[in-house]
C-alpha cells in the first residue's frame, strides 16, 4: 500500500551565525511524514529537534535542502498564497504553557488571533462560535473565553494552546515537547486529548520530545536525532525492541521504569561518540531491516545485522 506523503524533508540544513561563528544546527536531515501518522523526533537538548520543527513552520530560515509540503516546496522564497496556506494548515503547540500565551490578552483573543489574520473580515458572530467550539473541543468551557491566562492551571493553559491551533483547521500539527512542563497526572489528559483530536480529524503530528517513554506511547514512527544528525529511524515498536545505534540504546536505558528490581539491576548506558571508528570507513544512512534505518559504517552495519539475527 502506497501511503500519501504529507511532509518531506530533503537534505535539510540549518546554520546559525556567520563566517567564523557559524554553527550548523541541522546537518543533512532526511525524513518523510505520512498523512495521518504521528512522527516522533527524539533527542537531547541542543540536538536540533526544535530547530527542524521551526524550519518547517517557516520561523527559521534554512540554509540548504528542501522542505516539501504536499509536494510543494515551502522553505525559502514562496508565493504569498502558499505562505498563507502553510500558515493555516501547519500549526504548532509549544512546550511551556506559561510562556506561550500572551499574558495581556484574554483567551478569546488568544484563541482567535490566527483566525483574524487569515480570515480577515470574519463576522463577529462566527468568530465567537468558532472560539467556543475550539474551547469545547479541548475540554474547556466557553465561559473561559473572557478570562486571562494566569487564571488557569498548567494543563488548562496547554489546552488553550491546543485550541488556538485547532481553530485554524490544521492538517499538520508540530507539537514541541507539549507535555514536558506538565505534571504527570495532567500529562495523561493532554496525551489523550491529542490522540482523540487526531482520530477525529485525521491530523498528522510531528511530535518532538526528549523522552522515549512518551514517544513509545504516542508515535507511529521515530527518528532519533543527535547533534543535528538523524542517527536512527524506524517504526516505534521496532526501534524500541531492536535499537541498533548506541545513542538510541543510551536513550532507552535512561527511561525511568516504575519497577524497582528492574531499575536496580539496570546498567545506565552513556553514549560516547569516540566509540565509532570513522577514520577510514565513513558512516552513511542505510537500511538494516525493513523500514529501519541507521547511520553506520559498513563494519557497524554488519555487526548490527548479526545482532539482529541472534
Amino acid at each position: 500500500m502506497e501511503r500519501e506523503v504529507l511532509l518531506e524533508v530533503k537534505d535539510l540544513e540549518v546554520t546559525f551565525g556567520e563566517r567564523k561563528k557559524k554553527y550548523q544546527a541541522v546537518k543533512m536531515v532526511n525524513f518523510k511524514i505520512y498523512k495521518g501518522e504521528t512522527f516522533g523526533l527524539v533527542g537531547e537538548s541542543g540536538s536540533g529537534k526544535t530547530t527542524i520543527g521551526r524550519a518547517v513552520m517557516r520561523i527559521i530560515k534554512t540554509s540548504g535542502g528542501e522542505i516539501l509540503y504536499k509536494g510543494q516546496k515551502i522553505n525559502g522564497d514562496i508565493s504569498g498564497e502558499l505562505d498563507r496556506k502553510v500558515i493555516q494548515e501547519i500549526q504548532m503547540i509549544f512546550q511551556d504553557p506559561q510562556a506561550s500565551l500572551n499574558e495581556r490578552a484574554k483567551v478569546d483573543y488568544i484563541v482567535s488571533e490566527g483566525l483574524l489574520n487569515i480570515e480577515k473580515g470574519i463576522p463577529e458572530k462566527e468568530r465567537k462560535e468558532r472560539v467556543n467550539q475550539a474551547l469545547l473541543d479541548v475540554g474547556l468551557l466557553p465561559e473561559f473565553a473572557s478570562r486571562f491566562p494566569h487564571e488557569f492551571s498548567g494543563g488548562q493553559r496547554q489546552r488553550i494552546g491546543i485550541a488556538r491551533s485547532l481553530i485554524m483547521k490544521p492538517e499538520f500539527i508540530i507539537a514541541d515537547e507539549p507535555i514536558s512542563a506538565l505534571d504527570v497526572s495532567v500529562r495523561a489528559q493532554v496525551l489523550n486529548l491529542l490522540t482523540r483530536i487526531q482520530k477525529e480529524r485525521q491530523i498528522t503530528y510531528l511530535f518532538i520530545a526528549h523522552d522515549l517513554s512518551v514517544m513509545r506511547f504516542i508515535t507511529d514512527r521515530i527518528a532519533v536525532i543527535r547533534k543535528g544528525e538523524i542517527v536512527e529511524m524506524a517504526e516505534t515498536e521496532e526501534l524500541i525492541t531492536h535499537a541498533f545505534h548506541p545513542y538510541t540504546r543510551a536513550l532507552l536505558s535512561a527511561i525511568p521504569m516504575p519497577d524497582p528490581k528492574h531499575e536496580k539491576e539496570k546498567k545506565l548506558m552513556v553514549y560516547d561518540p569516540s566509540m565509532h571508528d570513522y577514520t577510514t570507513d565513513q558512516p552513511f544512512w542505510q537500511e538494516i531491516r525493513k523500514e529501519h534505518y541507521v547511520l553506520a559504517n559498513k563494519k557497524e552495519a554488519e555487526e548490527y545485522k548479526k545482532l539482529y539475527e541472534r
Partner: protein
C-alpha cells in the same frame, strides 16, 4: 532491625493566611526520615510537598506558619535533638541551614548567581561551613567538583554558570549543597527541568553521594516513574497529607491506596498504544475549605460511602508499609487493584 531516625515529624500542620482566608496546606503529617536512606515524596503540584520540606529549613513564606505538631531533628553534632518547629529566630535557622540540612532546587538556571564563577560560589559555602584556610577551601572545592562528575575541575573552577549546560549546572548546585557538609539533603524536583539522559545521570550521582557523604536524602518529585531507581522508601502525598508510605517494592508492586494506583496507571511507561492512558478525573481539593472525609474520595470512582464522611486512619499492611484508605478496613468490600500493578510485578514493561 531498628533504624536510626534523623528527622521525626509528628502530626504537622501548616497554614497560610491569604487575603484573610486560611489555606490548610499540610494537614497532620507524621513521618520519619531514617539515617542514610533516600526517601521520595511524590505528589501532584499543589499537594504541599515543597511546603512540607521547606518548613524544616525555616523557608516558609511570611504568611505561612506551623500551626500544629512538631518536627524534631536528631542529627546535630552534640546529639541534642533540635525541635525545628520551635525555632523562631533567623539566627538559629542560620546555624541549621546548609550545615545540617541543605536543599537543591528544581531549576539550576535560577539557583546560581550568574555574576560569580562557579568556583567562587562553591568556595563560599566551604568557607562558611567548614574550618580552614582559603587554599584548603579551594582544594576541597576542586574535590567537590570532581565528586559531582565535572571533568577538568581546574578549568571549570573559574568559569561562569552560563558556560555550563543544564545538567552540569545542576551538578554545580549539588556541589554547593555538599560543600555545606549537611546531614540531610533535600532535593526538590532536581531533574524536572532536565533531559531524560541527564536525569538518569543526576539520580545516579545523588545515589553515589549519599554513600560517600553519608547523607539522608529527601527526594521530591511529581513523577513516580523516576523514583523506582533511586528511592529506598516512597511517600505518596495528596492534598497536604501522606496517603501511603512504604518501601519502593511496597509501593510499586503492592500499592494499596487508590491514589497511588491512579498515579501508577497514568504513567506513559505503562500505557498501551492506541488506548487511552489512564487519567485522574477532577482536580485536587480546595485547601481553603475544610476537607471532610478522605480528600481523594471525590476523584475516586471506587470511593465508599464512609470516604465522604470520615478520614481513614493508617492501616498497616506490613511493618514497612501503611496506607490511609478505608479499603483496607476489614468491613470494606474487596477492591481490585488496577491491572497495571500486575504488569509491573511481573516485569511486563517494555
Amino acid at each position: 532491625m531498628e533504624r536510626e531516625t534523623i528527622l521525626e515529624v509528628n502530626d504537622l500542620d501548616i497554614t497560610f493566611e491569604l487575603r484573610g482566608k486560611r489555606l490548610h496546606a499540610i494537614r497532620g503529617i507524621s513521618l520519619e526520615l531514617y539515617k542514610g536512606e533516600i526517601l521520595a515524596i511524590v505528589g501532584e503540584s499543589g499537594s504541599g510537598k515543597s511546603v512540607f520540606t521547606k518548613s524544616f529549613m525555616g523557608l516558609l513564606d511570611k504568611n505561612g506558619s506551623v500551626s500544629g505538631g512538631r518536627a524534631v531533628y536528631y542529627g546535630s553534632d552534640n546529639k541534642i535533638p533540635v525541635e525545628l518547629t520551635g525555632i523562631k529566630k533567623e539566627k538559629d535557622w542560620l546555624r541549621l541551614r546548609g550545615h545540617e540540612i541543605a536543599m537543591i532546587m528544581q531549576d539550576p538556571m535560577t539557583s546560581l548567581n550568574p555574576l560569580k564563577t562557579i568556583g567562587a560560589q562553591i568556595m563560599e559555602a566551604v568557607l562558611l561551613h567548614q574550618k580552614g584556610s582559603r587554599a584548603e577551601a579551594k582544594k576541597r572545592t576542586l574535590q567537590y567538583l570532581t565528586d559531582v562528575g565535572i571533568q577538568d575541575p581546574e578549568k571549570r573552577f573559574s568559569q561562569y554558570p552560563h558556560e555550563f549546560s543544564g545538567g552540569m549546572r545542576q551538578r554545580v548546585v549539588i556541589a554547593i549543597a555538599i560543600a555545606c557538609n549537611p546531614q540531610i539533603l533535600i532535593c526538590d524536583e532536581p531533574t524536572t527541568a532536565l533531559d531524560v539522559t541527564i536525569q538518569a545521570q543526576i539520580l545516579e550521582l545523588i545515589k553515589e553521594l549519599r554513600l560517600k557523604y553519608k547523607l539522608s536524602v529527601i527526594l521530591i518529585t511529581h513523577d513516580l516513574g523516576v523514583v523506582a531507581n533511586t528511592a529506598d522508601r516512597v511517600a505518596v502525598m495528596y492534598a497536604g497529607d501522606i496517603v501511603e508510605i512504604g518501601t519502593s517494592e511496597d509501593i510499586f508492586y503492592d500499592a494499596r491506596h487508590p491514589y497511588t494506583w491512579a498515579l501508577l496507571s497514568s504513567l506513559p511507561q505503562v500505557g498501551i498504544k492506541g488506548e487511552n492512558l489512564f487519567s485522574i478525573a477532577g482536580t485536587p481539593p480546595n485547601l481553603y475549605a475544610e476537607i471532610k472525609g478522605d480528600a481523594f474520595a471525590p476523584r475516586n470512582p471506587q470511593a465508599l460511602k464512609i470516604d465522604f464522611v470520615k478520614n481513614p486512619p493508617y492501616f498497616s499492611i506490613s511493618p514497612t508499609h501503611k496506607a490511609k484508605t478505608w479499603l483496607l478496613d476489614e468491613r470494606a468490600p474487596k477492591a481490585d487493584p488496577p491491572p497495571v500493578l500486575k504488569i509491573i510485578r511481573e516485569g511486563g514493561l517494555f
